[in-house]
């Protein structure tokens, strides 16, 4: 089983990880604001679907995503 950890205070909410997650497991958390003033991305994977493909982390320009598998 794979999952990702998001360093929310590094996230700038650019949405590139969301675009590149084929399983749509990443969402902007609208009711949260991080230290930079952005709505950060959250990982929502209730059914354990994440395959750890790393696309989200690879595309994250801010190196805010870690992938575990």
């Amino acid at each position: 089983m794979a999952y990702v950890k998001i360093n929310k205070d590094r996230c700038k909410g650019c949405g590139l990880c969301i675009q590149n997650c084929k399983l749509a497991l990443l969402v902007i958390v609208e009711d949260e604001l991080n230290v930079l003033g952005y709505h950060p991305v959250g990982f929502v994977d209730g059914e354990g679907e994440c395959k750890g493909c790393k696309f989200c982390a690879e595309t994250c320009p801010d190196c805010a995503i870690e992938v575990y598998k």
């Binding site: 089983m1 794979a2 700038k12 949405g15 675009q19 750890g52 696309f55 595309t59 801010d62 870690e66």
Partner: protein, 258 residues
């Protein structure tokens, strides 16, 4: 939101060791962060952190030293290849690379770039092409596409009077002194993987004393393009790549002096 699995999954992707644990100053969706990561990954892969000297050009990439944990020299605008020549001549066994944007490398610094390439200096040049002067506020660059509006081409770049976007990779590939020339992009996971390979290849060839290596990285500048990150990446795909085709343009198999 994450749940720890019982068999303790291992970290398969994280911050490269040579990338300092600080946040980037870059705007949301800016690919400079991706490129910084790739450079740090290459340095880690070859275990050369302690013998690498980076030369930062002027522009958004100037703060290289805040992020990559290596010795860094800050060059005047456009002169990074000359500085790198000096550094590399003094430390021929070190890994020396420049990190430059399109204004820096292809406008004010084009002479230094061409001649360093032509001399086959044993350096790696990383050229971040986002078709715009980022740090100074979005002015027209030598690589600005025809029709592209910038703060100094408000009606869109026209070839009459403003010329054509310069294809640096193609130009440098014609020189005898270059050992490796590639153009890559950061807009999709697939392109990012190819970009990583190219940057690693460039470093490896320098380590193997093969000569001058050059990687042009097509990059998005959502802020100065006036669009969000996802749309900006789409623009890389639909407008930049057709004009600046990706791929390895040149790759020596033997060193130029052999």
């Amino acid at each position: 939101m994450t749940t720890e699995a019982k068999d303790k999954p291992k970290k398969v992707y994280g911050r490269p060791e040579s990338l300092k644990d600080v946040g980037f100053h870059f705007c949301p969706g800016c690919n400079h962060g991706n490129v910084h990561k790739m450079v740090a990954e290459a340095i880690d892969e070859f275990g050369v952190r302690e013998k690498t000297i980076g030369v930062a050009g002027v522009g958004c990439g100037v703060f290289l030293y805040n992020y990559i944990d290596i010795d860094v020299l800050e060059a005047p605008h456009g002169r990074a290849c000359a500085e790198a020549t000096g550094v590399s001549r003094v430390h021929p066994d070190h890994v020396v690379f420049t990190y430059q944007g399109d204004g820096d490398l292809a406008a004010i610094g084009i002479a230094e770039t061409i001649h360093a390439a032509n001399r086959g200096e044993h350096i790696t040049v990383l050229f971040v092409n986002n078709t715009v002067y980022g740090m100074t506020g979005g002015q027209m660059a030598p690589t600005t596409l025809l029709g592209q509006k910038t703060t100094t081409s408000p009606y869109g770049r026209e070839f009459m009077g403003e010329g054509y976007p310069i294809k640096m990779a193609e130009m440098l590939a014609t020189l005898e002194g270059t050992a490796f020339v590639a153009r890559v992009a950061c807009n999709t996971p697939k392109n990012i993987m190819a970009a990583k390979r190219a940057i690693k290849k460039a470093f490896k060839m320098q380590i193997d004393k093969m000569g001058f290596t050059f990687v042009e990285i097509l990059s998005a500048c959502p802020t100065n393009w006036g669009m969000d990150a996802v749309t900006a990446n789409k623009r890389v795909e639909e407008e930049m790549i057709p004009y600046f085709p990706l791929g390895i343009l040149k790759e020596r198999t033997t060193a130029d002096y052999l």
